[in-house]
């Protein structure tokens, strides 16, 4: 998939450290995401997956380590900084306003105006609705009207809207935190189809999940974290049973590819 001009990772984390009081949540984690790659991030509870992604999305400021976007070193003070640099996060609980319609949610915080008057700017509904419609069509998301309130959508549709929103503004990287955790089996299939569709359209994605079969189905590569360290970084291959066995071995500490690098 990658051509030679894309050899620089779209995002690279080097030696990320983060502690909360006495708890060392991340002990120097490296992570690289290539262009048009889907990277699965797995690990037991408290392995540091969510903390690492919160560092990348600007919600946490790391105690040590560097973040590079397309080779350039960056730092974020808050999630908006990360977002401006093209890092979009999709949250487990969708982070949508259920009282607003689909189009309003896609453009939440980035409303398009017809008349510029600062906060009293008059919104351009037609433009936002058409953009949203085009976006849903492009991603093959089946929602009858962009003017439907989110409270009327199913869980799968809500997650699809949340994912669509993340892709709406030329995101470089889309991070999905447990995108299937709250969904029915049928809805999970749809969301995974959507992830594949995004990859086919050129997106670079990091997906966190405790459902290993989800990771297996959509990811090109997988990183396993254990106790704040990276213990495995390998392509997704083999059949599902082999894959599962291998991942579990890393998760419980039976295998560790990076053991020699650890410092006590």
């Amino acid at each position: 998939m990658e051509n030679s001009s894309d050899q620089t990772p779209v995002v690279e984390l080097r030696g990320i450290k983060k502690h909360f009081g006495a708890v060392q949540a991340l002990r120097g984690v490296d992570l690289a995401l290539m262009h048009n790659e889907v990277l699965g991030l797995v690990g037991d509870n408290a392995a540091g997956k969510s903390t690492l992604m919160k560092v990348l999305s600007g919600a946490y400021i790391p105690d040590g380590g560097d973040i590079f976007i397309e080779g350039k070193r960056v730092s974020f003070a808050n999630p908006m900084d990360a977002r401006r640099l093209g890092i979009e996060m999709v949250y487990q609980d969708y982070a949508l306003a259920n009282n607003l319609d689909v189009s309003s949610n896609v453009f939440m915080g980035r409303e398009v105006v017809r008349i510029k008057l600062g906060p009293l700017g008059v919104m351009d509904f037609a433009h936002m609705e058409q953009e949203t419609k085009a976006l849903l069509e492009r991603l093959r998301i089946d929602i009858s009207s962009v003017r439907l309130k989110v409270e009327r959508l199913s869980g799968g549709q809500r997650q699809a809207v949340a994912i669509a929103r993340a892709t709406a503004f030329d995101a470089k990287v889309i991070i999905m935190d447990e995108p299937t955790a709250a969904l029915s089996v049928a809805a999970i299939d749809k969301v995974l189809e959507l992830v594949k569709e995004l990859k086919a359209q050129g997106s670079s994605i990091i997906i966190i999940s405790h459902r290993l079969e989800d990771i297996y189905r959509v990811s090109d590569r997988m990183i396993v974290l254990r106790q704040g360290r990276k213990v495995s970084d390998s392509p997704v291959e083999g059949d599902i049973h082999e894959f599962r066995e291998k991942v579990v071995a890393y998760m419980i500490g039976a295998r560790d590819d990076f053991a020699e690098r650890t410092t006590a």
Binding site: M89, A95, A97, N98, L100, M123, A126, Q130
Partner: protein
């Protein structure tokens, strides 16, 4: 879309909004019959509108406060206190009206920002912060009126806000016996509404967006035009549009536009629907809280002016229980305590419903104790209806 299915769909999707109008219509009809038409006599309609004024203005602000999941209990005595400040400014400081009104509105914004400072910056629950305000402003009101008692306001311009009517055309009457400027404004209002709706419909169609069926559209145009026409006719036959009505119209139109068309309005509802999501989307929940409480403070000042002007005086008890009337009007108007739901137009209707009940029962000579119970039933009924329709939708 066919007419029948359109009617069903419109009713289903807007049952909450229409339910409010239907309730108001039933109440008006009931009192009209029981008072032998006295209720819709021009004099009483004017009275009703002027009584609704300060509650409607408070309810508009309160609706936005409840939309962002807060509450403001301090508005009653704050309105009373600011009304007293207005009276003192005119009587004791000899300031002209055109200085006093902006000054008091500005003080209202300051008071609102003090509340939002406690709520947004210090993280105190709005219920507690504004309960402190309720106590504090009550004390402040008694303090500033202690030496004088009730302050009579001798200023005719100021008192016109709560009691006066808009002037007639300077060139005399075209239609004798009617208030011509009011008639003109009514016709102008209908024309504005109809052309606005037509332009919007054509624009939607040209962009291939959904529109109502032609029949439904015409019914809406005719119904609203008839309503504006009827009110205009009643008012023009008496002394015309009151200044209080003008104030209500300006506030309702400005806030309706702000909430439905502007970025600020959209963000207020986003914060109400899901504050965490709004924050993650780059919307500052703090800033929205400051704006909403600031606007509440300004509208409270306006309500204080309306009330003082109506009584032509500032009293030591002005504003007692206004906050609860405003909150009740907001809930009858369809606001949800869960946040994110409620409209400016709804809060106006809610205020009209609550004032109509008081006014109508007064005309019927019903004992005040029963009046409270009836209003309690209407308030509870409105919220039960709201919850029931909301649940059915999901």
């Amino acid at each position: 879309m066919s007419f029948a299915s359109d009617v069903r769909r419109v009713l289903r999707e807007n049952i909450r909004d229409y339910g409010m109008f239907i309730a108001l219509f039933v109440i008006v009809l009931f009192f009209t019959i029981t008072t032998n038409g006295l209720f819709i006599s021009p004099r009483n309609i004017v009275n009703l509108v002027n009584q609704t004024g300060y509650i409607a203005v408070l309810a508009v602000g309160m609706t936005l406060v409840i939309v962002i999941r807060h509450i403001d209990l301090s508005v009653g005595f704050l309105a009373g206190f600011l009304g007293a400040i207005a009276a003192i400014a005119m009587v004791q400081w000899n300031l002209p009206v055109w200085v006093v009104i902006p000054l008091v509105l500005f003080l209202g914004i300051i008071a609102g920002r003090i509340t939002s400072f406690m709520v947004a910056d210090l993280g105190i629950p709005a219920f507690v912060a504004t309960l402190a305000g309720w106590l504090g402003y009550r004390g402040a009101l008694q303090l500033v009126t202690r030496s004088t008692g009730t302050i009579i306001i001798p200023n005719d311009d100021f008192n016109a806000i709560g009691n006066g009517f808009i002037p007639e055309f300077p060139f005399g009457e075209v239609i004798p016996g009617m208030h011509n400027l009011t008639l003109f404004l009514g016709i102008f209002g209908i024309a504005l509404f109809v052309t606005g709706e037509l332009i919007n419909r054509v624009r939607l169609q040209s962009q291939n967006r959904e529109v109502q069926s032609m029949e439904m559209f015409i019914i809406k145009l005719v119904a609203v035009s008839a309503l504006i026409g009827a009110i205009t006719w009643i008012l023009a036959g008496y002394r015309g549009l009151s200044w209080t009505a003008v104030v209500i119209l300006i506030v309702v139109f400005a806030y309706h536009f702000m909430t439905t068309r502007t970025v600020l309005g959209r963000r207020i509802y986003a914060v109400g629907g899901n504050p965490e999501a709004a924050e993650l989307s780059g919307i500052s929940v703090k800033r929205i809280t400051h704006v909403v409480f600031g606007s509440m403070g300004m509208l409270t000042a306006l309500a204080g002016i309306l009330f003082a002007s109506r009584l032509q005086s500032a009293t030591t008890q002005a504003g007692t229980l206004f906050e609860l009337d405003a909150i009740a009007a907001s809930f009858v108007g369809g606001v949800s305590a869960a946040g994110g739901v409620g409209t400016v137009a709804g809060s106006l209707i809610g205020a009209l419903v609550m004032t109509s009940l008081t006014n109508g029962m007064n005309l019927m000579g019903i004992d005040i104790s029963y009046q409270y119970i009836v209003r309690a039933i209407v308030l509870a009924g409105a919220v039960i209806f709201d919850v029931a329709t909301r649940r059915r939708e999901q």
